[in-house]
């Protein structure tokens, strides 16, 4: 069992989820309630990681973060080391490829709040900020939890993009999914089996949680 890899995976997943939480709430809410030119394009971009092969997506991220790119150069100038093949680079990639998993459930959650409920909040004298905290977020909570759990699980399991952007540097970017692949390559059947069983258990629990949250969402008739 590669505990270092497991800890890197968990760190990556936790940071990804925490950073995506505000991004998902703001973007999901805007997409649910506002109409603006180019909205379809934005939704398509958000959904792109769902359909693009991870290696293709990883390749473009590698190019975009590389030492020759503006992002890579800016990072190098600011922090004094390169972005690719580091934990930070991996985190940035992870945030980007998890956008659909975070934003889409939250968007659906905000959409499901009837417009007159939001109008009622305003007619009760709640400022938009108070209405968000007291009415919208509690009603969208099951969807927000679903989004967080999905992003968490998806980060633990992602392989292609992690390999492209992060490489497999032990203690820095070697996640548990990559460690499993390495174990198989090294004919360490037992190690691969242990880690695979752990990921399987985490995935199962995740899916169970998603179902529990979505059932909670039905508890309040619309």
């Amino acid at each position: 069992m590669d505990w270092t890899a497991l800890i890197i995976s968990l760190r990556l997943a936790v940071f990804t989820v925490l950073i995506l939480l505000p991004i998902g709430i703001v973007t999901g809410r805007v997409l649910a309630y506002r109409n603006f030119p180019g909205k379809g394009m934005v939704e398509a971009l958000v959904a792109l990681p769902l359909v693009l092969p991870p290696t293709v997506f990883g390749y473009y991220l590698l190019v975009a973060f590389g030492a020759a790119s503006p992002i890579g150069q800016l990072w190098q100038a600011t922090f004094g080391h390169q972005l690719v093949f580091t934990f930070e680079g991996l985190l940035l990639a992870s945030i980007i490829f998890n956008l659909p998993f975070a934003i889409q459930p939250m968007e659906r959650g905000f959409e499901a709040i009837a417009p007159e409920i939001r109008e009622a909040a305003a007619c009760c004298g709640l400022t938009p900020w108070r209405a968000l905290l007291k009415i919208e977020l509690p009603l969208a909570l099951p969807s927000i939890l679903t989004a967080m759990v999905l992003s968490f699980a998806h980060t633990l399991g992602e392989f292609g993009i992690v390999l492209m952007v992060g490489g497999s540097i032990p203690g820095e970017t070697r996640t548990i999914a990559i460690a499993i692949y390495d174990r198989v390559q090294a004919f360490d059947e037992a190690g691969a089996a242990q880690m695979s069983a752990l990921l399987l258990a985490i995935s199962l629990i995740t899916i169970a949680l998603v179902f529990i949250f979505s059932r909670r969402g039905d508890r309040w008739p619309k």
């Binding site: 009837a114 109008e119 305003a122 007291k134 309040w220």
Partner: protein, 368 residues
């Protein structure tokens, strides 16, 4: 502070939803906006609340401007003291009845909110149900929570959007009485949106008849339902006996004489319309009197019309009749009589009948 002057509303726009509405509502008055679905009633209510911003117009309450397109003023809903009861109540499903009401009390110190919310729930007869969520309340109870929540904000105007459409008939009757009581206690302008004319006539002091966002007529229920300004209003208030005629003369008593498809009719309306003017006339149900067979009836000499009963439908204790007059069978005349009157006179489809159209009930309007 000056004496409350009530609500003044004037809204105009061509698109996306056409609006040409103008009305006022005094403190303590109930104004009903009536009209078919899609006539802009809810849009007007949302414009008062601030949830919708029309292109042109003004909304003012007790001298305070909430919206004025000329001065570019548009207060957001949370800064307008409105109490709004939504059509499906729009209660917050994750909060209890008490919490729903307390949500609208941000203006009160935290410590006073719960007592005040309990007091309001008592007032709408919901004592004991404070801890229930909306899903555990009946339709009528939900409506009462919505009313309590609307009042919790100490509103300057109460807006009711079809508040009785989602409850059964028995509950509705009880809620009517409660709204009538509330309105005596509150002394607020109350704007009620409804498509049910009977409901409007029962609860409101004045009606504003709307069609395609336009206020066609504003007046007491009696005015609007017996003296509509136009054939369009007549149709909207369910007056079915609307016909074309021409002014042909003037009676000694003052009323004009009209010619209705070859038949001469007397009215008591002393209009200044010159002879030869094309008009529309309307007669409400209650002014059509059936001639009794056994003895003369009241007003028998007034505008007698004979014809054949085409259909008769009894609804409760009333019979709704349609007759085809002999002088022009293309112009069906509708009226209703108590069921026992219909029985006594042997009214049934195919039977000959003579009715009088009482002159005092005939109302003239400009031709469509």
């Amino acid at each position: 502070m000056s004496a409350p002057t009530g609500l003044q509303v004037e809204l105009r726009q061509d698109a996306p939803i056409p609006l040409a509405a103008e009305f006022s509502c005094a403190p303590g008055e109930v104004l009903a906006l009536v009209g078919p679905s899609g006539s802009g009633k809810t849009t007007i209510l949302r414009s008062i609340a601030g949830a919708y911003r029309p292109r042109h117009g003004a909304v003012a309450i007790n001298g305070e401007t909430w919206f004025c397109s000329d001065d570019n003023i548009h207060l957001p809903p949370h800064r307008r003291a409105v109490g709004m009861v939504f059509q499906n109540y729009a209660l917050f499903p994750h909060l209890t009845a008490l919490q729903n009401v307390m949500t609208a009390m941000d203006h009160l110190p935290r410590g006073e909110r719960e007592a005040e919310a309990r007091h309001l729930l008592q007032m709408v007869h919901l004592g004991g149900l404070e801890e229930r969520r909306p899903a555990a309340l009946s339709g009528g109870q939900q409506q009462r929570v919505a009313v309590a929540r609307a009042l919790a904000r100490k509103p300057q105007v109460l807006l009711l959007d079809e508040p009785f459409s989602a409850v059964d008939k028995a509950t509705r009757q009880r809620l009517y009485r409660e709204i009538a009581e509330l309105r005596r206690a509150l002394h607020l302008p109350i704007v009620l949106v409804t498509h049910d004319l009977d409901e409007a006539a029962m609860l409101a002091d004045r009606l504003a008849v709307l069609h395609h966002g336009r206020t066609l007529q504003t007046g007491t229920p009696e005015e609007v339902t017996t003296r509509p300004l136009s054939p369009e209003v007549a149709r909207l208030v369910n007056l079915r006996n609307v016909f074309d005629a021409t002014v042909t003369g003037r009676r000694d008593g003052g009323g004009v004489i009209i010619q209705w498809s070859g038949m001469t009719m007397e009215t008591v309306k002393d209009t200044r319309l010159p002879i030869g003017t094309a008009v529309c006339w309307v007669i409400p149900d209650g002014f059509v009197v059936v001639h009794r067979r056994d003895r003369p009836s009241r007003g028998e000499h007034e505008n007698p019309v004979s014809g054949m009963v085409e259909s008769m439908l009894s609804i409760g204790q009333a019979a709704m009749l349609t007759m085809r007059p002999h002088h022009d069978a293309r112009l069906p005349l509708h009226f209703s009589v108590p069921l026992h009157v219909a029985r006594r006179n042997g009214l049934a489809p195919g039977v000959e009948v003579t009715v009088s159209l009482l002159a005092e009930g005939i109302h003239l309007m400009p031709a469509a």
